[in-house]
């Protein structure tokens, strides 16, 4: 059997070599499909690895509470897409933050009330859609962030104060040092008392770009805007060992304080990274489908070429059958030929895909992501493509009548 396979491999190789250009173009079809799949997989991989490294940087004693939207189901994702997250009413309130802070084992709590607002600087410069984060003084500690200048928010301050990210500062004031300047948000003036040191982590578990955000006290925000939405509550526990225990306590306390409403999730460890941009995962899912389509197109290319090749070599098939090739022999010969095409295409696609993802990494904050899973997926996908699209032509070749085939001259 092994000998037969080797012989067929030799046969297939020599017949593919006879039509170099044709074989190459067919491979190219497959490789484009495979390359796009790899590109998407490595993109998704690098995003999730980015977020998980970030969480581990922040610390293993982190607990996050989010309004539950059962993100895992397709229905809720579609609802989220059609009715944008910003309008999804969150049931977390400042009261909950208070409740959590009283629980034993909790070191610090900070809410994240994210909204997109238009901001006005001192010289009538307006940033139409800036991220405003309503939080408290613990935020800096929990996130392990540091200030470049000034001080962070304090609840007890009488005038509304704000801390600004570098990117936003540059956009609004044309300088990275706007301390002391005033900013107008929803008709209320805020004095900038500090600037955040550059983070350069546009993708993180908070789903906000901290560099392009304005930080204000959640209570201040609540005074202007009564319908304050808290999208997330970040909690740091006193030690790592009691993480699970504490998160249970939080969950119980919240349910109790909300009179049984359990429309929220308490996440810790790896779970936090999971929903990092459900929109992103939807987009990459759609992209993967598109890539799959291009793979199918490539597969049809293989089938097409194999059918042409079978027709061209009808006479050869007749001769081979007359001198002793069985149906299985012919089937195997053409199937192996299709497999060589698809696997070579897969290999080319692998290389192409990685070149593309490296190029992509030059312009995005991602790191190229290579894993053995991707290699296996590539191999399996191109193998299956070869079998699926090579089988019909091979069967067609194998069942040719030797007598008629011998009379056939291409």
């Amino acid at each position: 059997m092994a000998l037969l396979l080797r012989t067929h491999y030799e046969l297939a190789k020599s017949s593919l070599k006879r039509n170099r250009t044709r074989s190459f173009l067919t491979c190219l079809g497959i490789s484009i499909g495979v390359a796009s799949i790899i590109l998407i997989l490595s993109l998704m991989g690098s995003i999730s690895s980015l977020v998980s490294t970030q969480v581990s940087k922040v610390g293993s004693n982190l607990i996050v509470v989010r309004p539950s939207s059962t993100r895992s189901t397709v229905d809720s994702i579609v609802t989220e897409l059609t009715s944008s997250t910003q309008y999804l009413k969150s049931n977390l309130t400042l009261k909950d933050v208070n409740t959590i802070s009283k629980i034993e084992g909790v070191a610090s709590v900070s809410p994240l009330a994210v909204s997109v607002n238009s901001l006005k600087g001192e010289t009538d410069t307006v940033v139409a859609s800036a991220t405003v984060i309503g939080t408290n003084s613990d935020f800096l500690k929990i996130q392990n962030l540091s200030l470049k200048n000034g001080t962070f928010l304090r609840e007890e301050s009488e005038t509304p104060t704000a801390v600004i990210g570098t990117k936003l500062a540059n956009a609004l004031f044309g300088t990275a040092e706007p301390i002391g300047k005033a900013i107008t948000l929803l008709g209320q003036r805020f004095i900038i008392i500090g600037t955040l040191a550059e983070v350069d982590d546009p993708i993180n578990f908070n789903n906000v770009d901290l560099d392009a955000s304005l930080f204000v006290c959640a209570s201040d925000l609540n005074n202007i805007d009564n319908s304050l939405q808290i999208q997330q509550i970040n909690i740091r526990t006193e030690n790592t060992d009691t993480l699970a225990e504490t998160s249970n306590k939080i969950s119980e306390a919240l349910i109790a304080s909300k009179s049984g409403d359990n429309n929220f999730v308490v996440l810790s460890g790896d779970e936090i990274t999971h929903p990092a941009g459900s929109l992103l995962s939807i987009i990459s899912g759609i992209l993967a489908i598109v890539a799959g389509i291009s793979l199918v197109v490539g597969g049809i290319g293989i089938m097409n070429i194999m059918l042409v090749s079978v027709a061209e070599r009808t006479h050869e098939i007749g001769v081979r059958k007359a001198i002793g090739a069985s149906t299985g022999n012919i089937l195997l010969q053409f199937l192996i030929e299709a497999l060589i095409l698809s696997l070579t295409g897969g290999l080319m696609g692998l290389i192409l895909g990685y070149i593309l993802s490296f190029l992509l990494c030059l312009v995005t904050p991602f790191n190229p992501f290579i894993s053995w899973q991707i290699l296996v997926i590539t191999f399996v996908v191109s193998f299956i493509t070869g079998i699926v699209f090579g089988l019909y032509p091979a069967i067609k070749a194998a069942h040719k009548n030797p007598i008629y085939s011998l009379k056939f001259w291409a």
Binding site: L3, V319, I323, S326
Partner: protein, 270 residues
């Protein structure tokens, strides 16, 4: 001992056709290429089949060569019903026991001569080196060694046919079926090809050859004239006992013999 064995071999019937019919088309359009055809071929015969076009010569050859199946009737190949042989074993028999020679040579145009000759060995499970050595030996027999790596179109018709004959005998088949092997050749090449066939025959091989050329009948031990799918005349020019004796070869006839034994066992059980 040796003599006894060879005596056995000469008397052995290798091909037996009984009431064989082959119909093409159905109903009103039906026509018979072979009708109630009976034939018995002994090992070592050189049969020449003659007859007008369309009398079923090629169909007969295709059926004997297991490429085609009769509509009705029995075909016994070495006492074994051909219709009972599985498709894959039929293919193996074609590779090992039957050699085909065609009028239009039927070499694969983009393979060098040596690989063309080695082709039947691909399907009987030889390593590449072994295949090429055997093919080279076969070609040497026909003084074609220097043409090994030529492509078929670079050779003359006679050379191509000699290569095709080399291919037919490379796996030492017992039956050689030739469909007008000289039909496309000039008289000189024809003579060379016929001399080669005579040599193969003298080694004890059975040859069945279809031809239009009455001059070639001098090579045969038996001449059959066909007409409308039946035998018109059947003349044996050599007595059965004078047929050439197969020379002993290293390769044993495993396929046939083992099969025959098992058949006998089955019959005994019944």
């Amino acid at each position: 001992m040796n003599e006894e064995q060879s005596e056995n071999n000469t008397n052995e019937t290798i091909i037996k056709l009984e009431g064989l019919s082959k119909r093409f088309g159905y109903g009103d359009a039906a026509s018979y290429a072979l009708q109630n055809f009976d034939l018995e071929v002994k090992r070592g015969e050189f049969i020449m089949i003659m007859g007008p076009s369309g009398c079923g010569k090629t169909t007969l050859l295709n059926i004997i060569g297991l490429l085609d199946t009769p509509t009705s009737g029995k075909y016994l190949l070495n006492d074994e019903l051909a219709s009972r042989i599985s498709a894959s074993r039929q293919a193996r028999l074609r590779a090992k026991k039957i050699g085909f020679i065609f009028q239009n040579f039927n070499l694969i145009p983009n393979l060098p001569i040596i690989e063309n000759v080695a082709l039947p060995l691909v399907y009987s499970g030889y390593h590449k080196t072994r295949r090429l050595i055997k093919a080279s030996e076969a070609l040497e027999r026909f003084n074609m060694k220097d043409k090994e790596y030529y492509l078929p179109f670079q050779l003359s018709g006679g050379q191509q046919q000699r290569a095709a004959i080399a291919r037919a005998i490379v796996s030492h088949p017992e039956i050689i079926l030739a469909d007008e092997p000289t039909g496309n050749l000039d008289s000189r090449s024809s003579t060379t090809v016929m001399e080669e066939l005579r040599r193969i025959h003298s080694e004890g091989n059975t040859i069945i050859m279809v031809t239009h050329n009455p001059a070639l009948t001098s090579y045969a031990t038996r001449v059959i004239n066909m007409l409308d799918g039946t035998i018109d005349t059947d003349i044996k020019t050599v007595k059965d006992s004078d047929l050439p004796v197969p020379i002993e070869r290293k390769t044993p006839r495993k396929i046939f013999k083992s099969r025959r034994k098992s058949n006998k066992k089955k019959k005994g059980k019944k």
